[in-house]
């Protein structure tokens, strides 16, 4: 689809996501969490019983909607393609560890922007951490880090992930009592199912067409001085800021912020760890969801890593709460850095880019 190009689309996507996030919060989603891919996957992990943290259990229709929206957009634009086989297990581990970083901060980069737009200064502290994590990931990529090539697969493999989302949706619509649903806490704060689904279909379709990502903006600016994705990120922030001004959801400060804590060091380090991990797997959780919907089974496994990471984070007391980051969470962040740095060095000392400077690169 060569007609949909240029910056207009990525700006429209950012504006739409920012505006819909504010609206979904008005409609019932938790504060500054109108859309948060990490939080909502964490809720789904709880909803299907992978963890027993009672306040954060729900099968969020937004995740399902984003996948379907992206799936339909990929089919319509003939960009659906089953691909995979690029070291899925390593991606799983990186996503697992990155998710612990997100849950120590309490949000993915999308929620970080929403929190920033509502005046939560803890998120402004996390932003440079996130950028530094991305910069470290770039350092590895520049010295040859690679997870290797994906290969073309039978189309059926690419349908597995959308199918799983379909099963979740059917159960959600016809018999949601099979799931664990929070009765209080963030998991009990929900926008009505069908409007949430509808809004997220739009988000998924736009994000697929615009190749929207929230790791990419910082990565591409550092690596290539390419601002394309940055336009989307700034638009998202701008729309959320204007939306929050309109609805009066601005509270500038460190304390009293919804679903947030004030431990600056861990906000910074949590997002740094996540930024590093999701640079190495090539895209933020939203991008991974969209990519999985486009038929990329490596991205689908990455999402499973996020889900299982969320489960472990809550089962082993690693996730932060408004009370702060528990000791186990602090240890997990430090250990996570050790593991990811080891992965980074291990996979970049292998000379993937053989004969530097040689143009012809064989697979």
């Amino acid at each position: 689809m060569f007609t949909l190009k240029g910056k207009g689309l990525v700006i429209l996507t950012g504006l739409s996501i920012g505006a819909l996030a504010v609206i979904l919060t008005l409609a019932g989603n938790p504060a500054n969490m109108g859309i948060c891919i990490a939080c909502f996957l964490r809720d789904i992990a709880g909803g299907v019983g992978l963890h027993r943290a009672a306040p954060v259990q729900y099968v969020r229709p937004e995740i399902i909607g984003i996948v379907f929206g992206a799936f339909v957009a990929a089919l319509a634009s003939r960009s659906f393609r089953a691909m995979g086989g690029s070291n899925a297990l390593t991606r799983f581990v990186l996503a697992f560890i990155g998710m612990i970083g997100f849950l120590v901060f309490l949000g993915c980069p999308l929620r970080m922007l929403l929190r920033m737009s509502a005046g939560d200064l803890n998120a402004w502290i996390a932003l440079p951490g996130f950028a530094i994590g991305i910069a470290v990931g770039i350092w590895f990529i520049n010295r040859g880090f690679s997870l290797g090539r994906a290969t073309r697969q039978n189309e059926a493999h690419g349908l597995v992930f959308p199918f799983i989302m379909g099963v979740l949706l059917v159960l959600l619509l016809i018999n949601s009592t099979v799931f664990h649903f929070s009765t209080e806490g963030p998991g009990a704060m929900r926008a009505p199912l069908l409007p949430a689904l509808g809004a997220s279909l739009v988000v998924g379709a736009l994000a697929q067409r615009a190749r929207f990502c929230l790791v990419g903006p910082i990565r591409d600016m550092i690596m290539f001085r390419d601002p394309y994705l940055l336009f989307g990120m700034v638009s998202l922030f701008g729309a959320a800021l204007i939306g929050n001004l309109i609805v009066g959801n601005i509270n500038v400060g460190l304390t009293g912020q919804p679903v947030a804590h004030t431990e600056a060091l861990w906000n910074f380090l949590g997002m740094a760890l996540a930024g590093l991990c999701f640079t190495l797997v090539a895209g933020c959780p939203l991008r991974q969801l969209v990519s999985a919907a486009e038929g990329n089974t490596d991205s689908a496994v990455t999402i499973l890593g996020v889900l299982v990471g969320a489960a472990f984070a809550h089962n082993f007391g690693l996730a932060a709460s408004p009370a702060g980051v528990p000791p186990n969470g602090q240890i997990a962040v430090v250990a996570g850095f050790a593991v990811v740095l080891a992965i980074g060095f291990a996979l970049s000392t292998v000379k993937v880019f053989a004969n530097k400077g040689r143009v012809n690169e064989s697979a």
């Binding site: 770039i138 190749r211 591409d220 690596m223 290539f224 990329n296 143009v359 012809n360 064989s362």
Partner: protein, 69 residues
């Protein structure tokens, strides 16, 4: 045989490989074979930004970019 093969690679690797290739050549022609829409658009943007002209040729599910300067 294309000069750079970015099939099956995800961002930022395709752009990085092409950037290294065109920086090494400085001028002339560089051909790039790939399969993802995102990589194609990102490479196009990089190449045109550096003053290379870009020609796109569909090859089944893949595409071949010919970058010329």
């Amino acid at each position: 045989m294309p000069d750079v093969n970015v099939c099956g690679l995800v961002c930022p690797e395709p752009v990085l490989l092409v950037k290294r290739a065109i920086d090494a050549r400085e001028k002339g022609t560089v051909t790039v074979l790939g399969d993802s829409e995102a990589a194609r658009e990102n490479i196009k943007r990089l190449a045109t930004g550096k003053g290379w002209s870009v020609q796109i040729e569909a090859q089944g599910e893949q595409w071949l970019l010919t970058l010329t300067k």
